[in-house]
């Protein structure tokens, strides 16, 4: 079968994780990507899960749907409680934060709270931050995995749930967030980074068969381009075989055109 959008995201995401590191992973595609990395090139990767779980080994076919359920804690090394788990990140022990998002802006800020209207009486109420704000605030490097759609990639998010570079130009640091920040946005069309000076989103690479024009068309703000936009290496058979074995029921990998993101895009 051909590669689904979720499979593409999981494989590309897994390649971002180095061995002998720690990753704070959300459930769904981020957790799958981390599990794939652990099985393939990063056997010493320690996964940390929001429900207060350190070092689980995801059992193939038993993927958790929540960050605090028995399946998420399979063969874990430690169950320190939720607050203490986040405090490991605040202390600087988490190398990567790995998450999705409903709405993302040109500075990488994410909204999973409210769309339109007043905060207390919004047009659309989304589930909320959960640990996303903490992951975005406290992990040393944050990688976003998301479907690339114009209604998700907006000039300015309606509400900054999870801060990346705020308004750019040092505003993250001025707010008191002295480390971390979103480094990469891995999407169904390519891989994006941020220009070092103003922290505006920049297209670094497209996936095979995707054009720069296509990425622009699906982005709701003016996208910067790397001096040389690279093309990613397509998922290998080996990567896809391992990934599919983790989710044999395809609960997260979906079918062709399946929605890879945790939260559906907001409808106005």
């Amino acid at each position: 079968m051909s590669t689904t959008p979720s499979e593409l995201l999981a494989v590309m995401g897994s390649r971002e994780l180095k061995d002998d590191t720690t990753v704070f992973a959300g459930v769904g595609v981020p957790l799958l990507a981390a599990a794939l990395a652990q099985q393939r090139h990063a056997p010493k990767l320690t996964m940390v899960i929001e429900g207060g779980i350190i070092g689980p080994q995801i059992k193939p076919g038993r993927l958790p749907i929540s960050t605090n359920e028995m399946r998420a804690a399979h063969r874990a090394q430690m169950l320190p409680g939720i607050t203490d788990t986040f405090l490991f990140a605040q202390r600087g022990f988490l190398d990567y934060g790995f998450m999705g998002g409903a709405q993302i802006d040109q500075h990488g800020n994410i909204n999973t709270s409210v769309v339109g209207g007043d905060y207390w009486k919004p047009k659309v109420r989304l589930p909320g931050t959960g640990g996303a704000n903490d992951i975005a605030s406290l992990c040393k490097e944050v990688i976003i995995l998301t479907a690339h759609e114009k209604r998700r990639f907006v000039q300015k998010v309606d509400f900054v749930t999870s801060p990346a570079w705020l308004d750019g130009d040092g505003s993250r640091e001025r707010a008191g967030l002295l480390f971390g920040g979103v480094s990469r946005v891995v999407t169904t069309l390519g891989i994006l980074g941020f220009d070092p000076e103003h922290k505006r989103m920049r297209l670094d690479a497209v996936h095979p068969g995707v054009t720069v024009e296509q990425v622009r068309e699906n982005t709701g703000f003016e996208l910067l381009l790397a001096s040389q936009v690279a093309t990613t290496t397509p998922p290998t058979d080996d990567e896809l075989t391992m990934l599919r074995a983790l989710d044999p029921e395809r609960r997260f990998l979906g079918g062709e055109g399946g929605n890879p993101s945790r939260v559906p895009p907001p409808k106005r």
Partner: protein, 286 residues
Amino acid sequence: MKDGDSVVAGGCLFSRTPLALVREILRQRRTGLTLCRNLMCTEGELMMAAGAVERVVTAWMSIGLPWGVSKVMRHYVESGKVALEEWSHLAFGLRFRAAGMGVPFLPALTMLGSDLMGVGGMKTLEDPYTGRTLAAVPALFPDVALLHVSRADRFGNCQIDGYPHMDADMARAATTVLVTTEELVTEEEIRRRPDRTVIPGFLVDALVLQPFGAYPHEVWGRYHADFEHFAEYTADIDARGVTTAVADYLARYVHAPATWDEYLELFGGERLKRAQDAARELVPGA
């Protein structure tokens, strides 16, 4: 419990939720409550639909990934009937840690710069040593904590298996602590493993033995969550709309059965056994 109380429910999402206690609050038709829970699930939906809460304080609300964004939450929050006060998950935890420590706030490095700062009115603080900006996370002292634990003795000394969530901090933070337990053990059993005790008896005001007290949510090593039940519940909401479906659910599961055991009979022993088997497979030896 009084109308207008602030209440915190232990566990997290569909794990170790004190559902037998929540059901009793609904049966008493309390109103004007503020319900605090870090990740809110069906218990929050039922309290909203029953008109028990006017405000929820949380980091996230819905049942879980496969069931999408909570339609019940959307219905009550988007119409302005219930206020949803959102804090980051760590800030939420630190609010109970601060209260449990008996201090008015804790400095932290989270939530800074985000729009969440304005929602619950979090203030910043200048570090008196370095001058850097810190979040001053305010303590939250709820009137009542509702907790469900793995085992306890008759003095209220509580032990929790598996992930501890935030229950121990919540027990320290609240004025009144009400606990249900899966298992009542002897004083000797607690004394044999004091390292497992996370809530000392002197914090606990009332203790009730209630096996399956979190069902259809899960308890570590004892029973798995009943995802089929969540699917039936959300399918009915999809088919008949929030108010009708949840009103019928409340009538059938909350008000009709006189006791929790009668409530469990609605699910049947075979279903409960399946949930136990699934938990034992996932947590061998628990």
